[in-house]
Symmetry: C2
Subunit: 237 residues, 2 copies
């Protein structure tokens, strides 16, 4: 389903400085897998996630998603894939600061054209429209829907980012350190939520530095200096 061959990502900074964020990645991830990506700070995990999640383009190599060469997709086609199939929880949340939690979670539905009606098109039937409040309730934020990001704790912002990533029922979920700002109990609730989605058929790819979180995955990939150093199936506990 996801196939990377010789993927590189190079940053050129003025004065001859080159950063090889990814130095040749060969990787295949099948549908319905649950993969954890681990590795030192700066080793390329977020860069890898952004490329697989169609948020960034590689410098070299080939990425095919369900047999389609992603390099041949236009920006618009990439955006459509992202909206329809992918949910992305960013390491730094990336919430819109002037919108409430609820509005932030509604946004993917608006982009996918399934939110409120417009004068050209009636509103989508209720079940879909009710998703944002339900998504926020599922991450324990039913009483924070009207808060803006600056009025939320760090872990609450992280959970709004998680709810936003899941509201469109994505078939592939990318989660970059989804429990980094959460206490252990709340983190477990989030991991149970991801495990439920996995059971329901989603592919989950997450970055974590915590062994307890990686334990939910069926496979653990280790990165170092932009390369994969280990790729092991593990028996889920």
């Amino acid at each position: 389903m996801i196939r990377l061959a010789g993927i590189t990502k190079v940053y050129h900074m003025g004065e001859d400085v080159t950063v090889n964020a990814l130095a040749g990645i060969d990787l295949e991830i099948g549908a319905r897998e649950f993969v954890a990506v681990m590795g030192p700070s700066g080793s390329g995990k977020s860069t890898l996630m952004n490329i697989i999640g169609c948020l960034d383009r590689p410098s070299g190599g080939r990425y095919t998603l369900d047999g389609i060469d992603v390099a041949r997709m236009s920006d618009r086609e990439l955006a459509q894939v992202r909206n329809a199939r992918i949910g992305f929880v960013f390491q730094t949340f990336n919430l819109l600061p002037r919108m409430t939690a609820l509005r932030n979670v509604e946004l993917p539905l608006v982009y996918a054209g399934v939110a409120r009606g417009t004068r050209h098109r009636p509103a989508t039937p209720a079940p879909r429209h009710r998703r944002p409040p339900a998504a926020l309730a599922r991450v324990g934020l039913a009483d924070r829907t009207r808060h803006r990001p600056s009025q939320l704790s760090g872990g609450q912002r992280q959970r709004v980012a998680i709810a936003r990533a899941l509201v469109n029922n994505p078939s592939i979920v990318f989660a970059d350190e989804p429990t980094g700002n959460l206490d252990t109990a709340t983190g477990s609730e989030i991991m149970d939520l991801l495990a439920d989605l996995h059971d329901a058929g989603a592919t989950i790819i997450l970055v974590t530095h915590e062994a307890a979180v990686a334990a939910y995955a069926g496979r653990v990939i280790h990165l170092r200096d932009g390369r994969i150093t280990r790729d092991e199936a593990r028996t889920p506990d």
Copy 2:
């Protein structure tokens, strides 16, 4: 040294909604202590840190720092205390996006008047001026000084925030989830750095959700719903 009595923080959101972020905190922290603050997401940890760190004012109660009632300090006096004595690592880093890592770390020195010379005053002697590069090297970012935050990984931004907090040799270090975005090995290096500062006489107050991080502290305080539920001295390992 730090004394909180009946400290409250209340947010009033339109339409009769009140959030009691802190609901009555009584707490004393002495010089040279190493304290870990733990508790569920949204329980008031960052709010408490911001008040003790003189970044925010309580709604009620009394906070005395070295015998001085902080409520009686002007904003300018508070800023001076912060710059001279306090280093703060924010949960969401708060780096200036258009400045390089080096410039971000230099800022506290500029505010404290110890950076480069101006036409009114010669530059401060070299040892202080060399602090920003040394501070960045100590967190493993010697080769990232010219990167801006958007050109850094999540954990690298976190480490820039840590270097910035420590560059002024603060006597009180506040660290809000300082290892949340770091792999275990890098996280240990940061904790060793904090332990060294503690040995050298600093007071360390940190928020964490990881037991391995709290293990460095001599005392662990638990918050829930804006109150302290447990306050235990522990034998450092």
